[in-house]
């Protein structure tokens, strides 16, 4: 394994089996991951995007030793996930978001103290470490309240506090800002950036494209258990057909007009969406020369026509890739 890699997987597959039927004699298999190859460099924030059920959480659980792969090999921080999991666990942190995963009848501080002991954090300095983490995630003032009184956002912060308590080298964040209000989400993103500044490598799964765009140096899009693309945001833009996106909206377009739009110079892709009687064409454009007037010129007889331009965003890229995979 390359020393500069924090994660390296080759052909990781994961099949879940479930027994069904009256006598549980029917075995149903679901292939959640279909041969995932992934390399994450030390010190980067790597984003993992994908629709629900794409296999993101399965991959995170495999990489954090909570699940064994059915086939393939995987190393994190140079250690094999199956053979060397005991040596790896103290060096990685896992944040699985949501309402569950914390002891609700005791305080946040007690939760952290318990996990500090499970991670072998020295008793001398343990209290100071817990206090520092509570302050870092913004829970210091609520530290001695029972967790059952916490909002979802506060529980999420507690999850993060637990994940970073033992100062891991590698942190897995599974949708860390889901359910957070905008202010808390922004604070969490700030915290994530500060962790990377401290040298922590982060694998982040998220549904929020702006978050991935803001935080991640490189990204992979996972769809139906396969990585369908991986690159920087700029690299992914060129992959899906250009960094310019033109949107054309109007009524009563016919096939010939759609073909004319597709034939314009630099247009690499044409997508259509209906909004009641209105139709929107979305054009991915590689050429910087194509002007809005040229687009209008291709659709004469539509005085109501609206044409606008914007940069191809990560959401566009993501939707294109997932749609391509679905088709």
């Amino acid at each position: 394994m390359n020393d500069g890699l924090a994660i390296e997987t080759r052909g990781v597959r994961r099949v879940f089996s479930a027994r069904k039927g009256f006598l549980f004699n029917e075995v149903v298999e679901t292939e959640a991951l279909k041969g995932v190859d992934l390399q994450v460099h030390r010190g980067e924030i790597f984003g993992l995007l994908g629709p629900n059920g794409a296999g993101k959480t399965t991959l995170v659980k495999i990489l954090s030793t909570l699940l064994t792969p059915t086939a393939g090999t995987a190393k994190v921080l140079g250690l094999d996930l199956v053979e060397e999991s005991a040596g790896l666990r103290p060096r990685i942190g896992l944040v699985l978001g949501g309402e569950r995963g914390v002891y609700t009848r005791v305080s946040a501080r007690e939760n952290l103290r318990y996990f500090a002991d499970l991670y072998g954090i020295p008793a001398v300095g343990r209290a100071a470490r817990i206090q520092a983490v509570l302050e870092r995630v913004g829970l210091a003032e609520s530290a001695d309240r029972r967790v059952e009184e916490f909002s979802r956002g506060m529980k999420q912060k507690l999850h993060i506090a637990r994940g970073i308590l033992h100062e891991p080298e590698m942190l897995f964040l599974d949708e860390p800002t889901i359910g957070l209000d905008p202010k808390s989400a922004r604070e969490t993103r700030k915290l994530i950036r500060s962790l990377v500044a401290d040298g922590v490598t982060i694998l982040l799964t998220t549904h929020y494209m702006f978050e991935a765009e803001e935080l991640c140096g490189r990204l992979a899009v996972l769809s139906k258990g396969r990585i369908v693309a991986r690159d920087t945001v700029a690299g992914l833009r060129s992959l899906v057909g250009g960094d310019r996106t033109l949107e054309v909206e109007g009524y009563g377009f016919d096939d010939a007009e759609a073909a004319r739009l597709r034939g314009l110079p630099g247009v690499s892709k044409l997508l259509s969406e209906e909004f009641g009687p209105r139709l929107r064409y979305t054009l991915r454009v590689r050429s910087p020369e194509l002007t809005l007037d040229q687009v209008r010129g291709a659709l004469p007889g539509h005085p109501e026509l609206t044409v606008r331009e914007r940069q191809t965003g990560l959401e566009d890229i993501y939707l294109d890739l997932v749609e391509e995979e679905a088709n």
């Binding site: 089996s17 909570l66 064994t68 995963g101 002991d117 499970l118 991670y119």
Partner: protein, 265 residues
């Protein structure tokens, strides 16, 4: 493998958290203290006209209800609660082996069970103005602790079942009262049909409870092979259960990671 320090710390941390959770959740007071005390008081009234030793049968049954519920049921159920709270996954992903987390809980439940049994005894003594007579109080005390150890051994195996499958609670609930009666918690196993005795003897508490009655009741016959063989049987079956627990926990942890059902409840 986690260093010994981490394992010891995990055990103590788990014991501490179990105590905090117990104190924070008053619902445990019902099976651990209130129900056994009520059961003991009712038993005492029902058998008041009988000999003092017969009354002791009933009181022992009540005391055992507390210890059985807290030690055996509590140890397994705590792992089920980990599944329900979603804390099983983060706990399994920590370096400390999960068996030490379970051991910490079992030790706490042992302490709580002892406390429950003692409270039953004290309440009866205070209510009726005199202590319940015991044939050999010191032997009784020692064996009382030993009974808890045997219950704990079974509790650890039950806890492994809870890690293995989310359906362990169903199995435990189905077997709950059969176990309570079948191991002699309520009355001596020899009073049950003969065919059931070999099944009862598979469980360490059966032997230990029979031994406990030797220390409590003069001329107690039990299985008829005497206190010594009861102790041998109790030690042997407890050792087997602990060996089984030690072996299966590693396998159970591996199984959960292979199947991926730690988040299910």
């Amino acid at each position: 493998m986690a260093p010994p320090m981490t394992r010891r710390r995990a055990l103590v941390a788990s014991l501490r958290l179990a105590a905090l959770m117990f104190l924070a959740d008053p619902q445990w007071l019902v099976p651990s203290l209130i129900a056994p005390v009520v059961f003991a008081l009712v038993s005492y009234e029902l058998f008041l006209g009988s000999s003092a030793w017969f009354v002791l049968y009933a009181i022992l049954g009540a005391g055992m209800m507390s210890m059985w519920g807290q030690t055996l049921y509590g140890s397994g159920w705590a792992t089920g609660q980990d599944r329900e709270l979603g804390t099983l996954e983060p706990t399994l992903s920590a370096p400390a082996p999960y068996v030490y987390v379970v051991l910490g809980r079992v030790i706490w439940n042992t302490i709580a069970g002892l406390l429950g049994g003692a409270i039953v005894y004290v309440v009866i003594a205070i209510t009726y103005g005199h202590p319940i007579p015991l044939d050999d109080p010191w032997a009784f005390l020692a064996l009382f602790v030993f009974v808890i150890v045997t219950l704990s051994a079974v509790g650890i195996v039950f806890a492994a079942a809870y890690v293995y499958t989310r359906y362990a609670g169903f199995i435990q609930n189905v077997g709950e009262f059969a176990f309570y009666v079948g191991t002699g918690c309520m009355f001596p196993v020899v009073l049950l049909p003969f065919w059931s005795n070999p099944i009862s003897l598979i469980f360490p508490p059966t032997w230990a409870l029979d031994a406990l009655r030797y220390a409590a009741i003069p001329n107690y016959q039990g299985f008829g092979w005497g206190l010594g063989w009861d102790l041998v049987g109790a030690v042997a079956t407890t050792a087997i259960y602990l060996a089984i627990a030690g072996t299966i926990f590693t396998r159970v942890e591996r199984h959960v990671i292979e199947v991926g059902n730690a988040a299910w409840f």
